[in-house]
């Protein structure tokens, strides 16, 4: 038996830490809390309804959009794709916040135009918002499946005597069903773990009720609810791991060339989605900025956000490097990486609850920035690991061998060959963690030291106080950060495209 590489030891420590929140919750929930009661059943029903409607709505919006954006040669195709994928980068609570403020009797729309609109709240409101911000999961996963589907199969069906739509239904759909399901499950997962949207919409789902219990000092009840939520999350994650089917080698996919009138019609059909998901929040925040100005917003909030997020990004990258290395080194390393991915499945509110309790047990950590940063790292480290691992995997293994044979020690080979070549992935991974942490709401609410206001928590205080107009600056800043995140995701995609092209030239 060979000795374990150093990276394994670090990876093992991180993996143990990742399981810590779950262990904490179990011990906390064991402190005599109700396992299940009637109210619990209502919460469970709400959560499952929200999840189901979101998944259904995301498929309803995402699949047609995916077909349009993959198979139809629209003018400015790339632009539409970016615009329609954009809601993915925006936290849904921004949408929930602005929809809540815009609609209803005292909503901004009524004030501005005198047209009274029904209020946006409860299950209906939460479902619509969730759908609007999660359909890109389905759009992107379906698009990936569609574009890897070789047109010749549909052509074969056509030449065998089937017309276009039956051919798509019988030949294409079964092959992309997994792609659709994967996207819908990601949307469900988001709906399960999001705190802001049900909170703003006043829908009692697990995440909202956990926060209510926490505020009522029912920490062990919050832990019990958290564990119940984690069970559902685990189920969804399990399903998600099962549907990831075979990736087909990219072929030449179908393409339709519409005339101008058809193009315009299709674009018109896509516009409302963009209008509601992107333009409305931007417009509402801008309106408040114009009407109410900056309010009592202090630049310190932004600095606080940036400080905690930057620390989290740096810590995540430092820990992710050995983890990514371990995960491609062997089976044990792969397992450790999988364990660390647990953090991604733990909703922010649950992570917050667990670490608050940990802080209460370890007073030197309570109400410290370190604990908040730790929560960010545990939640978002999979982003950094994924980004670095991808860069690592793209790296040709013989390159390190070549360096070794030229006389370089493993350390020198890492420093001179591996590190420079994966630097892009390292920076991108760190940036993703930074941008996610900037927008994180629930864990920050629970773990932020007293008086340590961030952009997201300030937005929450404004909502609680009811002075919506004060949210203009933090809202716009959060949208701006989301745009940055989107751009980062896109450069990542472009980078992959280039790599793929290179591969095919060989």
């Amino acid at each position: 038996m060979k000795p374990w590489p150093t990276s394994y030891i670090i990876a093992l420590i991180v993996a143990i830490f990742s399981l810590l929140p779950v262990a904490v919750l179990v011990s906390l929930a064991a402190d005599g809390s109700e396992l299940f009661d009637a109210y619990n059943l209502e919460v469970l029903t709400n959560t499952l309804l929200l999840m189901g409607i979101t998944a259904f709505g995301a498929i309803l919006l995402g699949v047609p959009l995916a077909i349009l954006l993959t198979y139809v040669q629209l003018p400015w195709k790339k632009f539409w794709l970016v615009l329609l994928a954009a809601p993915l980068a925006m936290p849904s609570y921004l949408g929930a916040f602005t929809f809540y403020a815009a609609f209803g009797y005292s909503g901004e729309l009524n004030t501005l135009t005198g047209i009274e609109t029904p209020p946006f709240e409860g299950l209906f409101g939460a479902s619509v918002i969730m759908t609007l911000y999660t359909y890109p999961f389905v759009l992107l996963s379906t698009r990936a499946a569609l574009s890897s589907l070789d047109a010749s199969q549909v052509y074969a069906a056509r030449t065998l005597g089937m017309s276009l739509f039956p051919a798509l239904w019988r030949v294409a759909l079964p092959r992309i069903a997994n792609g659709i399901a994967a996207g819908a499950l990601l949307a469900s997962l988001y709906a399960l773990s999001d705190f802001g949207t049900p909170a703003f919409m006043g829908l009692d789902t697990f995440t909202r009720v956990i926060y209510v219990e926490y505020n009522a000092f029912g920490l062990s009840q919050a832990a019990m609810l958290s564990l119940q939520l984690l069970v559902i999350v685990a189920l969804v994650l399990y399903l998600e791991s099962r549907v990831k089917g075979s990736q087909e080698p990219p072929g030449r996919h179908l393409m339709f060339w519409p005339n101008l009138k058809q193009s315009l019609l299709m674009i018109l059909a896509m516009l409302p989605v963009v209008l509601f998901a992107m333009v409305l929040p931007l417009a509402v925040f801008s309106l408040w900025l114009w009407r109410d100005g900056a309010g009592n917003f202090e630049i310190d909030y932004a600095w606080n956000s940036a400080q905690a997020s930057l620390l989290a990004a740096i810590a995540a990258v430092i820990v992710a490097l050995p983890l990514a290395h371990a995960s491609i080194k062997g089976k044990a390393g792969k397992l450790m990486e999988r364990i660390v991915f647990v953090g991604f499945g733990i909703p922010g509110i649950v992570m917050g609850t667990a670490l608050v309790y940990l802080g209460l047990q370890l007073p030197f950590l309570y109400q410290t920035l370190a604990l908040l940063v730790a929560a960010y790292v545990l939640r978002f480290i999979p982003l950094a690991v994924g980004s670095i691992r991808t860069a690592h995997e793209n790296l040709d293994g013989t390159m390190v061998n070549a360096a070794r044979l030229l006389g370089a020690s493993p350390q020198e080979a890492f420093r001179r060959i591996t590190l420079p070549l994966i630097m892009r992935g390292v920076v991108a991974g760190g940036a993703l963690v930074f941008l996610e942490a900037m927008r994180e709401l629930p864990a920050t609410l629970l773990l932020g030291p007293t008086g340590y206001e961030t952009l997201a928590t300030y937005l929450w205080r404004v909502y609680e106080a009811g002075y919506f107009g004060l949210a203009a600056i933090p809202g716009l800043l959060l949208i701006f950060i989301s745009v940055l995140a989107l751009l980062l995701m896109l450069t990542g995609e472009r980078f992959n495209d280039i790599e793929l092209n290179k591969g095919s030239e060989k």
Binding site: A402, L405, L406
Partner: protein, 343 residues
């Protein structure tokens, strides 16, 4: 110089190389050839120290590696040229070639020798495949290794480039005066470039000799068939001949290599070019197919006893399917025979 004794390599519980022995002189090129999965690349990796050895010993002038003392690759002073080049994409050609050198003098020398001087400031991604492989070779030679390992260096290149480049590589290796082990699955490449050819099957070295010996007197039927088109025709050793150096077959009798003592019944190795083909109504076979190959044709002929023989003929006669032809052995060189193995 390199010496392998009883080398055995395992992947998990699978033994991929068994009890391998050979040694290589000071500037010889050894071609290791064999079908996919025969362990030829694994042997290179083991010599380089990239995979551990399970048993045996590898000896070089400055180090000895065995199962207990695996010498790390960077301590072995070997050079390796990879199938996919393994150039460092973030470094210029010159920086690649002088990777661990204190000055660029040697790098510039080898770039000049290989005709790459004008590319020294270019990044590898801007080079063609053939240029990349020459840069990789320059990088290896500039670091002055005691032995060069080449792992299918030409197999990701276009056919047109291969022929040219294999001679360039050979010349550069000879100019450097360094021994080399070159792995390939292309028997033509092995026979033309190598000073020695080693034929591998399933981790065993079936034959190790100079190319002519391997081709003309292969150690067994596998080697004979792997190195070129081969027919194996039944024959009887001529009992009238005391030295047993003549064989009778349905296509006539011929001399065989002496000292191949074996049973009376043998298989005779006949290369397609060892047989003469004439159109003849009373002939001993009929044409199954004929494949035009430019300056010659390959013809499959079925003999009256059902045996099928491949013959190469220089397009002197036009053949059609089912045509009757006369085959005769037509070679001055003595033939190889193999004992008939009990099935």
């Amino acid at each position: 110089m390199i010496n392998l004794e009883h080398l055995t390599i395992n992947y998990g519980d699978n033994t991929v190389v068994k009890n391998l022995n050979f040694s290589l002189g000071h500037d010889e090129i050894l071609m290791l050839v064999g079908p996919t999965g025969c362990g030829k690349s694994t042997i290179l990796k083991a010599i380089a120290g990239l995979v551990p050895i399970a048993d045996g010993k590898i000896t070089n002038s400055h180090w000895v590696a065995d199962a207990k003392h695996q010498v790390p690759p960077e301590k072995r002073n070997l050079g390796m040229v990879f199938q996919d080049f393994a150039l460092f994409p973030h470094l210029s050609v010159l920086d690649n070639v002088s990777f661990r050198l204190k000055t660029t003098k040697k790098a510039e020398h080898w770039l000049a020798v290989l005709g790459l001087s004008e590319f020294s400031q270019v990044k590898p991604s801007q080079l063609s495949g053939g240029q990349k492989q020459r840069v990789a070779l320059a990088r290896t030679l500039a670091h002055e290794p005691a032995l060069v390992l080449l792992d299918e260096p030409l197999s990701s290149l276009d056919a047109a480039l291969k022929d040219e480049l294999r001679w360039q590589i050979r010349d550069a290796l000879k100019a450097a005066g360094v021994p080399a082990i070159w792995v390939t699955h292309d028997q033509e490449e092995a026979l033309s470039i190598g000073d020695q050819v080693g034929v591998l099957r399933a981790g065993n070295l079936e034959q190790l000799a100079d190319p002519q010996t391997c081709y003309n007197t292969p150690a067994n039927e596998f080697v004979a068939g792997f190195l070129g088109d081969a027919n194996f025709l039944d024959g009887q050793l001529d009992s009238n001949n005391n030295n047993n150096n003549c064989v009778n077959t349905v296509l006539g009798s011929a001399a065989i290599h002496p000292n191949q003592h074996s049973t009376n019944q043998v298989k005779v190795l006949l290369r397609p070019e060892d047989i003469d083909l004439q159109a003849n109504e009373q002939g001993n076979g009929k044409v199954i197919w004929s494949r035009f190959e430019g300056k010659s044709s390959l013809v499959l002929v079925e003999l009256s006893d059902g045996e099928q023989i491949r013959v190469r003929q220089s397009n002197k006669v036009t053949l059609h399917t089912n045509q009757t032809v006369q085959l005769t052995i037509n070679t001055q060189a003595p033939l190889s025979v193999f004992p008939v193995t009990e099935k």
